[in-house]
Amino acid sequence: MLTRLGPLLTVVLLTGPVAFGLAGTVLPAFGFLPALGGTTLTLDHLRALLAQPAIWTSAAISLATGLASTLLSIAIVMLFVAGWAGTRLFARLQHLVSPLLSLPHAAAAFALAFLIAPSGMLARLASPWLTGWQRPPDLLIVHDPMGLSMMAGLVAKEVPFLLLMVLAALPQVPLAQTRMLAASMGYGRVAGFLGGLWPAVYRQIRLPVFAVIAFATSVVDVAVILGPTRPAPLAVRLVEWMNDPNLAMRHLASAGALLQLAVTALALALWVGLERAGRALCILAVEGGLRMRRDAAVRGMALGAMVLSAGAVFAGLATLALWSFAGLWQFPDALPATFTLKSWIRVLPRIADPLLTTLAAGFLSTLIAGLLSVLCLMREEETGRRPGPALMLLYLPLLVPQVAFVFGLQLFLIYTGTLATMPALVLSHLVFVMPYAYLALKDPWHAFDRRFDRLAAGFGKQRWQRLFLVRLPMMTRAILTMGAIGFAVSVGLYLPTVLVGAGRLTTITSEAVALASGGDRRVVGVYAFWQMLLPMLGFAVATLVPALIFRRFRDMQV
C-alpha cells in the first residue's frame, strides 16, 4: 500500500512548508508574532507599508515587468513554434536553447548585464572604431527605471523554459497532419498552427505559464542584478526589510509579503483576462478564415527573437568566461590586456564545500521527488483517476511567490532548531523540485504502453518485478531527464538556500550571488561557470547513460 502513501506524503511534504511559511508571514503582517510580544491584531503595519515611499510604484513595476516579460516570452515561443515546428532548423535551435533551461536565473542575468552595460562587451566591440567612445558612455541601460533590461533578463530565461514546455506538449497534437491539412486549405504555417493546434498546446502549458508569472512578478535575484532601483521592484524591497535588524521591519516585511501575494494574484487574474482576449481574437481569425499566406516576416521575426534571446545569453556567458581569466581589462579593449588563472586558483579551494552541498541537496531532493512522483503516478493508475484536487496543491510552491513564504518557513525552522541542517535544506529544495519532477515524469509515464505491463503480469511477474524489470528500465531516459531537471532546479534555487541554509549550508548559487554583491566580475565569471556546468552535467548523464547501457538496443536510443 506504499502507493497510497505517495500522494499523501507528497501533499504533506509540499504544502506543509508552504502553509507554515505563509502563516509565519501573514500573521506578523497583522501584528501577531508572540515571540516579539505581538499578540494583538492590528492594521498598523499595513498602514505603515502603504506609507512607504513609492510603494505603489514598486508594486506596479513588479506587476508590469512580470506580465510584460511573460507576454513577450510566450509570444516569441508561440510564433517560433508556429512558424518553424517540424523543420530541421527548429530541431537545431531546440538543441541550442535547451541547455539554457538549466542555467540559473542569476547567471543568465549576469551574462546579460556583462553584455549590454555601457562598459559591456557590445560597447567594447563597437568602440572606439564605430562609436568613438574612449570611455563608456554615461547611459542608463542596466537598472533602467522602466525595467527594460530586467524584462530582457527574464525573457532570456523564460523563453527556453516555455519552449521546452511546448516541446513536451507537441507530441500530443497531430503536428504534421494539421500542417498538411491547413496548407491544403491555403493557410500559412503560422495561421495554420495558431488556429489548428495552439489552443490544445496552450492548455497543456497553462500551468507552467502561471508559474512563470508568479516567478516573474516576485523575482529577487534577477531584479537585483538588472532591475530598477528607484524604486526597486516590490520583492527586492521586501527582502531588504526582512534583513533589517530593526524588529519593527519584520512586520513591515510581512505586510509587504501580503502586498506581493496580492500583486501576483492580480497578475494571474489579468493574465486570465488576456487569455480570454487571446481566445476571442483566435476565434475571430479562424472564423474569418484569415490565411496569412505570406507570413515570412512573422516567421523571420520569431526566429530572430529566439536567436537573439539565446544568443545574448551565450555571448554574455562567453564574456563571463573571459572575465574569469582576465587580468587588467580596460575599456574599450575587446580583450583583456593580460590573461591569468589567478581568479580560478583563488576560488577553487573554497568551492569544495558549497559544491558538495549543492550536489548533496540536488541529488537527495531529486531522488525523493522522483520516488514520490513515481508513487503518485502509480496511484493514479491504480485508481484510474486523474490527480484529485489535493495533488493540485503540488503546484502551490510554483504559484505562491517564494518571498511570501520562505521567511515564515525560516521562523518555523528556527523554532524547531532545524535551521541550516541538511534535512531542512533538502526539504526546502524538495518543495520546488517536486512539481518539476512530477511535471517532467507525468507525460512519459502516461505515454507508457501499459500492455507491456499486462504482458508481464501474464508471465506471472509481481507488481514490483514489473516496475523494476519492465517499466523503469524502459523509461530510463525519461527518468534520468526528470532527474536532470530536478537537479537543475535545485542548483538554481537562491532564496530558499540563503534563508534555510542560513549561510552555514551554501551552494554554488547562493555563494555566487553573495560574491556578486561585491561586483567582482572575475569571481562571478568562475562561479557562473560552475552554475552552468553542474546542470549541464546532469543532462549529459541523462543522455549518455541510457545510450551506454542500452547501446545494443536500437529502440532504446531515441
Binding site: T383, R454, L455, G458, F459
Partner: protein, 211 residues
C-alpha cells in the same frame, strides 16, 4: 472441468450491460468473440487478464481447469496475451524476452537459455536469440511474441486481434502457426477480432456481442 469456463460473466459500464456470457472452451479449442468497436471486447479481455478499469463493474467468474482465475491477482492468473503489436521488450535481446517470460521454476541460466532457444526453434527463429528485437522484421517479431507467450506456460491464451497489423500473406501463416501451437499445447483460446477470416481460421464457436 478441463479448459476455460466463463460462468455468468457480466460486464457493465455505468449501468449499461456490455457483455453477458456463459461458455465452455475445451483445451485446444478457440472461442471467437466478434463485435464492433466499443462493444466490450477489450473489457472482456481486461477482465480475464485482471486489468479491468475500476470504472467497469463485473460479476460472474472465470475458471481454467477448475481454478477460479478471476479470484486471483493478475500475476497469478498465468493468462498469456497476444496483442495487435508484438510488444517485444525493447531493452532485452530476443532471448532475453523469452527468458523473462519463462517461469521461475525453471532453474539455472544454461537451462533457461536452452529452453528459450528451443522455443525460438519451434517458431522457425532458431539462432536469432542474440538479436536486438528492433532489428527483426514484422513477421519475425510476431513469431518471437508467440514463442514468448508459449514459454511462459500460460493456462490459457487471450488473442487481441493479433493478426490485424500483418499483411495478408503473413497473416495466413501466423494464423496457422498460432492455432496449431495452441492445439499442440492444449490451451483454451479466447480470440477477439472483427475479421471474419480470423474466426473461420480459428474454427471454433463464434459469439457476437454488442450487435
Amino acid at each position: 472441468m478441463e479448459g476455460l469456463f466463463l460462468d455468468g460473466v457480466r460486464i457493465a459500464l455505468g449501468g449499461r450491460l456490455l457483455v453477458s456470457l456463459t461458455r465452455h472452451v475445451p483445451p485446444g479449442a478457440v472461442l471467437t468473440v466478434m463485435g464492433p468497436s466499443g462493444a466490450g471486447k477489450s473489457s472482456l479481455l481486461a477482465y480475464l487478464g485482471g486489468f479491468l478499469d475500476p470504472a467497469f463493474t463485473a460479476c460472474g467468474r472465470a475458471l481454467v481447469d477448475g481454478v477460479e482465475i478471476t479470484a486471483l491477482p493478475a500475476e497469478e492468473r498465468h493468462v498469456g496475451i497476444l496483442f495487435q503489436d508484438p510488444l517485444l521488450f525493447p531493452h532485452m535481446s530476443v532471448a532475453g524476452n523469452l527468458m523473462f517470460a519463462l517461469p521461475e521454476s525453471v532453474k539455472g541460466r544454461a537451462e533457461r537459455r536452452r529452453r528459450a532457444e528451443a522455443a525460438l526453434c519451434g517458431v522457425g527463429m532458431a539462432g536469432l536469440g542474440g538479436r536486438d528485437p528492433a532489428t527483426l522484421s514484422g513477421g519475425q517479431k510476431a513469431r518471437v511474441a508467440l514463442a514468448r507467450v508459449l514459454v511462459s506456460e500460460p493456462r490459457m491464451l487471450l488473442l487481441d486481434e493479433p493478426f490485424s497489423k500483418l499483411d495478408t500473406q503473413l497473416r495466413q501463416q501466423m494464423r496457422q502457426l498460432v492455432f496449431s501451437k495452441a492445439r499442440e499445447s492444449g490451451l483454451p483460446v479466447l480470440l477477439v477480432t472483427h475479421d471474419m477470416a480470423d474466426a473461420r481460421a480459428a474454427g471454433g464457436e463464434i459469439v457476437k456481442i454488442g450487435a
